[in-house]
């Protein structure tokens, strides 16, 4: 399958994967999750990664985010080749330059919402930028809930805390792994709206894995994965166009 995409023109590249492969197991029983993928994520844009179950979309996200290591290939975050970094350097890189939103369990149950938002900054032993954090909190609509613990927040509120956390340290890039997977449609819309706002108004770079065409429609660009390869991409998608394309992939 030949890629019909052009991965060049943009203001700049936030993260780039070259010939990325991920294999699980050895020998003939080995499962190839990702097969020599070349990918480039542009700065200041909202990119969605889509694909059917087992297409390797989460694996790709984990590799780009430095949560997992590729079997072969390189990943460049800016100018830094991260697949060869030691655990400590990689951890510090995640802490200082990458933000995360997971599908669930984003928050430490013992910490308040405010403390959770400041978590990566506090881990780094730095003082949070009060003004920036307040702006984030207001934007995600959590003012007044800051002293609540996760158990006292709804699922949607929890994910918004997670989003604020991801942005709090002004990371180079934010990775979101099915952030709306456990939310109802209204909460999903709130969260995705906030993510798009972060890209449009704050110039944040966001990469999101999702299987929901509606969620993908918030992105500027959608990458489609199937069987461990990028098979196509779409710019300025709508929910319908993505849904139709997904149907064609599934068929």
């Amino acid at each position: 399958m030949t890629s019909t995409t052009t991965t060049t023109v943009s203001a700049g590249t936030a993260v780039r994967g070259v010939e990325l492969s991920k294999k699980y197991g050895e020998g003939p029983a080995a499962v190839v999750a990702l097969d020599a993928v070349d990918v480039s994520i542009e700065t200041g844009r909202f990119t969605a990664i889509m694909g059917p179950s087992g297409s390797g979309k989460s694996t790709l996200l984990h590799l780009l985010a430095g949560l997992d290591r590729p079997s072969s290939g390189q990943i460049y975050l800016g100018e830094t080749e991260i697949s060869s970094l030691k655990d400590k350097q990689l951890t510090l890189l995640r802490r200082d330059q990458i933000g995360f939103i997971f599908q669930a369990f984003n928050l430490l149950p013992t910490l308040t919402a405010a403390e959770n938002i400041e978590l990566p900054i506090r881990i780094a032993g730095r003082k949070p930028d009060e003004f920036w954090v307040r702006t984030l909190v207001e934007t995600v609509g959590l003012t007044g809930r800051l002293s609540h613990r996760p158990a006292q927040l709804s699922g949607g509120q929890q994910q918004r805390v997670a989003a604020a956390r991801a942005l709090a340290s002004r990371p180079r890039i934010v990775f979101a792994d099915e952030p709306t997977g456990a939310l109802d449609s209204r909460s999903s819309a709130d969260l995705l709206g906030f993510l798009r706002q972060a890209v449009r108004e704050m110039g944040q770079t966001i990469v999101m894995v999702t299987h929901d065409p509606v969620a993908a429609s918030y992105a500027d660009r959608v990458l489609f994965l199937a069987d461990g390869r990028i098979v196509d991409e779409m710019h300025d998608p709508t929910a319908e166009s993505v849904f139709d394309y997904m149907k064609s992939l599934g068929a």
């Binding site: 995360f100 997971f102 430490l108 792994d177």
Partner: protein, 847 residues
């Protein structure tokens, strides 16, 4: 259900291992103690059986009553004329008088050959009839004959490097004498008699140096072939005078063995107590483990319930799990017990308490008792968590239940507070009320139980306060503090185990230092003596009365006042008495006489403490009936009432002459020395030391030296007790490892999240480590606090027994607390490592 239980156990191997070990250690202590007891009993039986092997019957004075201490009860000597009567009895093949008494060997350089701790230094007559010697046999050289020959036990010969043919000095309660060593003696296969040093003389010499001419301690009889021992003893009984008895050799051997076993009884009790403490501490770990099992398995249990398992089945399956664990731990413990027994023997050996060796005895009783106790403790500790498991509802299978921390109830607070208050009331009543001092230890135990009950309520605020300085350790420190606060019950029961251990250790520490401080004060306040004569070693029985005579002649010495002590019965109750020299005691010791005078003691007087006098309504001139083990009941006239207790033992003081009359084996226990006005104490001490060069049974010490010697003895005992208690602390630390390991397992996702958002492995390790330190410190600080209080209360309660000072060893307690914190760091090593290794992806990916 059974397979489900067993599978569950095997899934968490570390938990299984830690829980098993924590119970196994307690069981090991119990099994080890029992093995040691049985081994000791057998060894002494064998030993004394061998010694009396050739003696079929013994003729001796009836004892007024049998003392609990000493190898043989002290008896009055028997007239030599009885021997002639005995020899004429039909069936007697041989009969000889035997004599024994205090004898301290010195080596060729004049140094004392000291007995292994606890054992006496003895002299014996050696029968000329070889069969009567039993298994006491000459190993090298020959048997002693004549007034200047001695054979000594092979151990002493070896230890003192005393060659055959050398001349050595031997100390007696009377004047010392020189002897030529003509032989070494063995006892069966042993080279000494349970640590005793022995000098063997011919009978006539023994009479001169150990007893008195014309009398024996007893008469040993060998029966003719075919004469039954019992029959022989009966025939002998018929001819001996009133007050003299005849018993079989076997009876004597058994008495000797029983008596020495009784001496070691305190060790058995002590070890038993330590085993109990260890098991109690271990039960907290079991409790913790099963609580965590139930919480983690809530879903699994709910699933079982929803597919039709009854509550009973759920409980049964957990208790079954506890039983399997208990059996496994007990079996392991019994195995380890052999090691414990060996270790304890070595430990006692290091402290100078050597035991005769024989193969380690594992009686069936040891096995079943250890099994029963181990399983019972395990099942009992698992019972409450199992009840909780019963209450898991089937619906919980469907809930996404995160193991939550239940807030401790108000009822618990009330119950705990009441128990603690009752305990405190008991302590206060024991100290200041009229409840008697036995209330104090009971109160201490009650307070402990109250505090354990309250612990879950206090855990959160304590963790918060103790963890407060962790803010300066950065964010991982702050998280550590919060983690320690999250599950107060778990933190509490983990810390409680350490708390108990440390409370006991600190109690002993405070008690020990109070003991030492009190001795210093007693010395300072009750005597103006500058120098003290004491036995050469802390374990020495005493020294010859000759010593005081020698010292009295040293220039610069103004007064030498020897004192001693013994036991007697008054009104049927065993009591300790002191004996003093009436002529000098009041110039050396402030007895704080309320009535009468010590100088009027004479040979039939007694001084009683004002406490006893008030209790019994005695006044000067009244008569007290004292029953001595050797001489029976004597009527003594009260010649004074004293208030100054402390330096002297007990509530009764008699004269040296009275003591000697009723206990021929008396030795001086110590002597107070006053120097002439203007004389240099140091010079006089040097001169006394020089004068005593030939008397290594005694030494001269100044006040500081004496305090140091007594302090050293206290330290030794305290060290021994502390080492035992540290076992409980070790078990408590295993509990911390267990709790941390389980917490790390429970928090896998959190750890993964923290790692994902940028916490380094080092920071994760720091976090777990500090959580461990917080838990340890909760246990250590509360334990140290309680222990200090308990130690003070205990010391106060023994005021009447001479503990007049209360001293809190601040440095020592601080050391324990710091050590506990460091131990917390150590306990966290494994869990911290596994926390740092958590796979980030597995934690954050929703499956």
């Amino acid at each position: 259900m059974l397979t489900a239980s067993l599978r569950g156990m095997l899934t968490h191997r570390l938990r299984l291992v830690l829980t098993t070990v924590s119970i196994a250690l307690g069981v090991a202590f119990l099994a080890g103690t029992l093995m040691l007891t049985d081994t000791m009993k057998l060894a002494f039986n064998q030993l004394f059986g061998k010694v009396t092997a050739g003696t079929d019957a013994v003729v001796r004075q009836e004892a007024a009553y049998s003392q609990t201490s000493g190898v043989a009860p002290a008896r009055r000597p028997i007239e030599a004329s009885v021997l002639d009567r005995v020899r004429k009895v039909e069936g007697v093949a041989a009969a000889e008088g035997s004599v024994s008494g205090y004898a301290l060997l010195t080596d060729t350089a004049g140094r004392a050959v000291l007995a292994e701790g606890g054992a006496p230094t003895m002299g014996y007559s050696m029968p000329s009839d070889e069969a009567l010697r039993g298994d006491v046999h000459v190993r090298t050289g020959r048997a002693p004959t004549g007034p200047s020959e001695v054979a000594i036990d092979a151990t002493s010969a070896d230890k003192g490097d005393i060659a055959l043919g050398s001349t050595i000095k031997i100390m007696f309660s009377g004047p010392a004498r020189e002897f030529t060593v003509v032989g070494t003696v063995g006892y069966g296969d042993e080279t000494d008699l349970g640590g005793t040093t022995a000098a063997h003389f011919d009978t006539a010499t023994a009479q001169q140096v150990l007893g008195a001419p014309g009398v024996f301690n007893e008469i040993q009889v060998r029966g003719a072939d075919g004469v039954d021992d019992v029959v022989l003893a009966e025939r002998l009984s018929a001819v001996v005078p009133d007050g003299v008895e005849a018993v079989t050799g076997a009876t004597v051997a058994k008495e000797a063995s029983d008596s020495i076993t009784k001496n070691f009884m305190f060790l058995n009790i002590m070890f038993g107590v330590f085993a109990g403490i260890s098991l109690f501490v271990g039960s907290f770990i079991i409790w913790n483990t099963f609580t965590m099992i139930v919480t983690q398995r809530a879903r699994e249990i709910a699933l079982l319930r929803s597919i039709g398992a009854t509550r009973r089945q759920v409980r049964r399956s957990l208790l079954l799990e506890a039983t399997v664990l208990g059996v496994a731990a007990s079996v392991l413990g019994i195995g380890l017990g052999a090691g414990v027994a060996t270790g304890l023997t070595a430990l006692m050996g290091a402290l100078g308490l050597s035991l005769p060796s024989t193969s380690l005895q594992v009686q069936p009783r040891t096995v079943w008792l250890s099994l029963v106790v181990g399983v019972a403790v395990t099942v009992a500790a698992a019972f409450v968590p199992a009840r909780r498991a019963m209450k898991v509802l089937p619906i919980e299978a469907l809930r996404d239940a995160t193991p939550g921390a239940r807030t401790p109830s108000k009822r618990r607070a009330a119950i705990g507070a009441v128990i603690a208050a009752l305990g405190l009331a008991a302590i206060l009543n024991g100290l200041y009320g009229d409840g008697g001092t036995t209330l104090v230890p009971i109160g201490i135990l009650t307070v402990m139980i109250g505090v354990i009950t309250l612990a879950p309520l206090a855990a959160r605020p304590l963790a918060s306060a103790i963890g407060a300085p962790l803010r300066w350790r950065g964010f991982p420190g702050e998280l550590a503090r919060q983690n320690a606060m999250r599950n107060p019950r778990r933190t509490a029961s983990t810390a409680a185990a350490l708390m108990i251990g440390l409370a006991l250790v600190v109690t002993m520490g405070v008690f020990g230092s109070s003991l030492k401080a009190s001795f210093g004060t007693i010395l300072g306040e009750s005597t103006n003596a500058e120098l003290f004569l004491t036995p050469a070693s802390a374990q020495g029985a005493g020294f010859s009365s000759e010593v005081s005579k020698i010292v009295a002649d040293v220039p610069g010495v103004s007064v030498v006042s020897p004192t001693s002590w013994g036991t007697a019965r008054i009104g049927g109750a065993a009591t300790t008495y002191s004996s003093v020299d009436p002529a000098t005691i009041e110039s050396a010791l402030n007895l704080e006489m309320i009535a009468g005078s010590a100088s009027r003691l004479g040979s039939d007087g007694v001084l009683v403490s004002d406490e006893k006098a008030t209790e019994k309504g005695w006044t000067v001139g009244d008569t007290v009936q004292m029953e001595f083990p050797t001489s029976g009941t004597q009527s003594l006239r009260i010649s004074g009432v004293f208030a100054g207790s402390g330096f002297l033992n007990g509530s009764y003081v008699i004269s040296r002459a009275t003591h000697e009359a009723n206990d021929p084996a008396r030795l001086d226990a110590n002597a107070l020395v006053l120097v002439d006005k203007g004389a240099s104490v140091g010079d006089v001490q040097d001169r006394i030391a020089a004068a005593l060069a030939g008397h290594p049974d005694a030494q001269v010490l100044d006040r500081a030296g004496y305090e140091k010697q007594v302090g050293g003895m206290v330290n030794q005992v305290m060290a021994f007790v502390t080492v035992m208690l540290l076992l409980a602390v070790v078990i408590a630390l295993l509990g911390i490892v267990n709790t941390l390991a389980l917490s790390v397992f429970e928090r896998t996702r959190e750890l993964g999240l923290l790692r994902a958002v940028g916490m380094t492995r080092g920071q994760v390790r720091t976090m777990v480590r500090w959580e461990s330190v917080v838990i340890s410190l909760i246990g250590a600080l509360v334990g140290a606090g309680l222990g200090t209080g308990f130690g003070v209360a205990l010391s106060q309660s023994l005021k009447g027994d001479g503990i007049t000072e209360v001293a809190v060893p601040g440095g020592q307690i601080t050391f324990y607390v710091i050590a506990a914190a460091l131990a917390g760091v150590l306990a966290a090593v494994g869990p911290a490592r596994s926390a740092a290794r958590v796979d980030v992806l597995r934690a954050v990916v929703t499956d």
